[in-house]
Amino acid sequence: MNSANGARRVTSTVADPRFQARLRRRYASERRFQWIGRIALALGGAFLALILGTIVANGYTAWQQTFIALEIHFDPERLDPEGNGSEDALLAGDYGGLVKAALRKAFPEVRKRRERRKLQALVSPGASFYLRDMVLEDPSLVGETRTVWLPADDDVDMLFKGHIDRSAPEGSRRLSDRQLGIVDALAARGAVEKRFNRAFFLAGDSREPEISGIRGALVGSALTLLVTLLLSFPVGVGAALYLEEFAPRNRWTDLIEVNINNLAAVPSIVFGLLGLAVFLNFFGLPRSVPMVGGMVLALMTLPTIIIAGRAALASVPPSIREAALGVGASRMQTVTHHVLPLAMPGILTGTIIGMARALGETAPLLMIGMVAFIVDIPHTPFDPATVLPVQIFLWVDSPERAFVERTSAAIIVLLGFLIAMNGLAVVLRRRFERRW
């Protein structure tokens, strides 16, 4: 009786048009909600694609650089007026003069002083270093005439990469009509070519985009990371070992734990202030050196390593410890012979992720002066140096259009390293992860 009543009520409710309308509304709202979720997710993906796309689109052209072929006569008069052939004499030679002479010979019709200067501006001011290095490598070149491919000025490079609008009025263009004519004439002779941009990987920083490179910054980053790793890995593993395996649970260890969690969330620039006040001003360590940069970044990555290390140690089952203790190992032997090796993949994964973050870090390094314009490539952690992210930051500030391309290319290199490191971490985790 009761149930029959209930059944009738149900059918009548379902048949009720108001119920049907409400149900439709509820289902519509359900679909809307799902779509909002999909859109949010798609937005995240779109942002990622947009950022990476912008950078790749701006940066891929930097792998190539425009070169101009010139008949260079290695004039002994200019290079080695005393004719002694010594390295010092060759170092002091007038290589810029060779380029000028070659340009004059190629374009005898350019006479006026101002126009000649514009003609010379088509070849990079760094071309003389190329010639010098050629001669120093092979002194028998002196007196010879060779066709040499020299880097073109960044404006010419930009022209051939399509970043200079030929139809713009002459006044608002980086190259004059006359220069365009000369460049076109060179191109018609087959004397302009885009080649692989070796300088970008082999040179240090420069004010001239066409001869600037990231090698100095790469070496600086490597030295800084080395210092960071050597300092933060042992200390981080030690701290994780103590806190997880030995520490009694009391106020002091609670304080340490809270501290580590908070340090992980302190803005990185505050670590820079610490480095400036303590390492530079108090201890008087030199500015701009990878040693100090590495110390600051080590303090910054420590919490990451400690937290990852503790998680890895905690995942080693207690039975391992009990077995080792049972056969007479000391607590330290238990930990160093059994627990630590088993936790090592996890610790290494955390360390690599911490290192990747340190590699991309900029702000604290600005504080300790690693933001200087440094041409020389550093060799030890005590040489002034800059790092890749700071190099990017410096290039962003440069007005030349050609630096946009180089900045993007440097970012591609940086992202390449980061992806490789994170990939390594993932592989390590997959390969050695153990379920107990």
């Binding site: 709202s29 359900e30 799902q34 979720g37 999909r38 859109i39 949010a40 997710l41 937005l43 995240g44 993906g45 942002f47 990622l48 947009l50 950022i51 912008t54 950078i55 701006n58 030690g238 701290a239 103590y242 030995f246 520490a247 304080l255 340490i256 501290n259 580590i260 969690n261 908070n262 969330a265 302190v266 803005p267 620039i269 505050v270 670590f271 202030l273 610490l274 006040a277 008087g284 360590l285 303090l299 420590l302 330290m332 990747a356 590699l359 991309g360 900029t362 702000a363 600005l366 504080m367 030890t380 952690p381 992210p389 990017i392 930051f393 970012i411 940086l414 992202l415 980061l418 994170n422």
Partner: protein, 462 residues
């Protein structure tokens, strides 16, 4: 020898010590066959010897490296003629700088005074002497340690306990590094900030609405006093962070909900790492992206709509920062949503609620404390973010709530005040530390609250 070379030498001696100690232990035991008569395994005797070689020598070397500069400078300054030596501190620093330049051979002036040249000579002498002494002493200390242990190795020596004790000391010391770092941050920032508050009153700093940190060359210059009110910087920071949160919270939260509740396993395994990439991109790259692409696009869009948009608008910096923060919000909320017990969902679904109704009316309220915590963490991240605002936000300290105008932030000002060579006692440089103190305290408070909220919430369901 240089410090790295000396370190290498000391480590080489320690490695040698390891071998020697091990052999010695076997010898005193009467050969490998009798190794069981030793208290510890021979390797521990080796380790003990190596530790005694390396630790004292490396400590000595470390002290030398840290204090070499100041000791040599003090010696040289003590030898300067009295009229130079008694100069006020900052002028003396200039003289010392001259001497150092002379030593390094940078910017050598032909007209350098004989006093400076003489002092440079002495600097070189003391530096060389110190180098020589350290080159001799450090390896000597290492060898001394070796000899000491070698003589005392005997079967009853508890080598393992000693070595384990040393390891324990090391790991205890390691665990205090975190405390020392915090103390170092607090003390260094506080100390410099106090020096700042000696010249600028605390309340002028906290409540002032004008920020123009000038260093006056003449006392009667316009703006010679400088204005150090942090209100415009802080509102700027909050404005940009607010824009960032307006982007990050809806997108991050909704993607987290979708991934946790709707997405198939496959979509999850692809989308989660992709979102995490956003967190892995260095901030300098975001800054470049904001300055190169976003800021001009917003300016042009604003121009097309007839709005006046500053070329370094708060909107551009905030938008990009928001994108950076999406993964923080989404991965933290994802954890939180997954921690809501399944029974709650099943109860709601069993009553006939649709999935979205369950999420909105059951899961989200249950997860709310955790979500709030994760948003607070994200806010603290936004406030402390530096490179994006340095590169994409302006330097003009405008007190405005209009995101289309240029504003500046606490972190951007710290960077501008401290990058480049600065004299270290002007209020201008010290102001950066006062700002750093505020930044540290604000982010610390946010983190402590957030961690507390998250922890309380976790306990609720465990």
């Amino acid at each position: 020898m240089s410090a790295p070379a000396l370190t290498f030498v000391i480590l080489a001696i320690a490695a040698l010590g390891w071998q020697i100690g091990r052999r010695r232990a076997l010898t005193v035991a009467g050969g490998p066959a009798n190794a069981h008569s030793l208290h510890s395994r021979p390797v521990y005797f080796g380790a003990l010897t190596a530790l005694w070689c390396a630790i004292p020598a490396l400590l000595l070397l470390g002290l030398w490296v840290l204090f070499r500069g100041s000791v040599v400078t003090a010696l040289v300054v003590a030898d300067l003629p009295p009229e130079l030596r008694d100069l006020p501190e900052n002028q003396l620093a200039l003289v010392v700088n001259d001497i150092r330049n002379q030593v390094a051979g940078n910017f050598v002036r032909d007209d350098a005074s004989p006093v400076i040249v003489g002092a440079a000579e002495r600097y070189r002498y003391f530096d060389g002497l110190g180098r020589l002494v350290s080159t001799v002493i450090a390896p000597l200390v290492a060898l001394l340690g070796l000899a000491l242990v070698w003589r005392r190795i005997a079967p009853r020596v508890r080598a393992r306990n000693h070595v384990e004790g040393a390891i324990l000391v090391f790991i205890v010391a390691s665990s205090t590094v975190a405390i020392l770092t915090t103390a170092g941050i607090v003390l260094s920032v506080l100390f410099e900030a106090f020096r700042f508050f000696r010249s600028v009153p605390l309340f002028d700093f906290l409540l002032g609405i004008e920020w123009s940190p000038q260093t006056a060359i003449r006392a009667d210059q316009v703006g010679a006093s400088g204005a150090f009110g942090m209100i415009p910087l802080f509102t700027g920071t909050l404005l940009i962070s607010a824009v960032a949160m307006l982007v990050a919270v809806p997108v991050g939260l909704m993607s987290a909900i979708y991934l946790a509740e709707y997405a198939s396993r496959r979509l999850r395994s692809i989308a989660k790492p992709l979102l995490e990439i956003l967190a892995g991109i260095p901030t300098v790259v975001y800054g470049f992206f904001a300055a190169l692409a976003v800021a001009p696009a917003i300016r042009d869009a604003g121009g097309a709509l007839g709005l006046e948009v500053a070329s370094q608008s708060a909107l551009a910096a905030g938008l990009v920062m928001g994108v950076m923060i999406i993964p923080f919000v989404s991965s933290l909320s994802d954890d939180v949503i997954n921690a809501v017990p399944q029974a709650l969902r099943e109860g709601s679904l069993g009553l006939g609620a649709t999935k979205s109704e369950t999420i909105r009316q059951v899961v989200l309220p249950a997860a709310l404390p955790g979500i709030v915590g994760s948003i607070l963490l994200a806010v603290s991240r936004a406030i402390g973010e530096t490179m994006i605002v340095v590169m994409a936000a302006g330097l003009a300290a405008n007190l405005t709530a209009n995101p289309l105008e240029a504003v500046t932030t606490v972190t951007a000002q710290i960077v501008t005040l401290l990058v480049g060579d600065q004299e270290f006692d002007s209020p201008k440089t010290l102001a950066a530390f006062a700002l750093g103190l505020v930044l540290f305290l604000v982010t610390l408070a946010l983190n402590v609250i957030a961690l507390h909220v998250v922890r309380r919430y976790r306990e609720q369901y465990e």
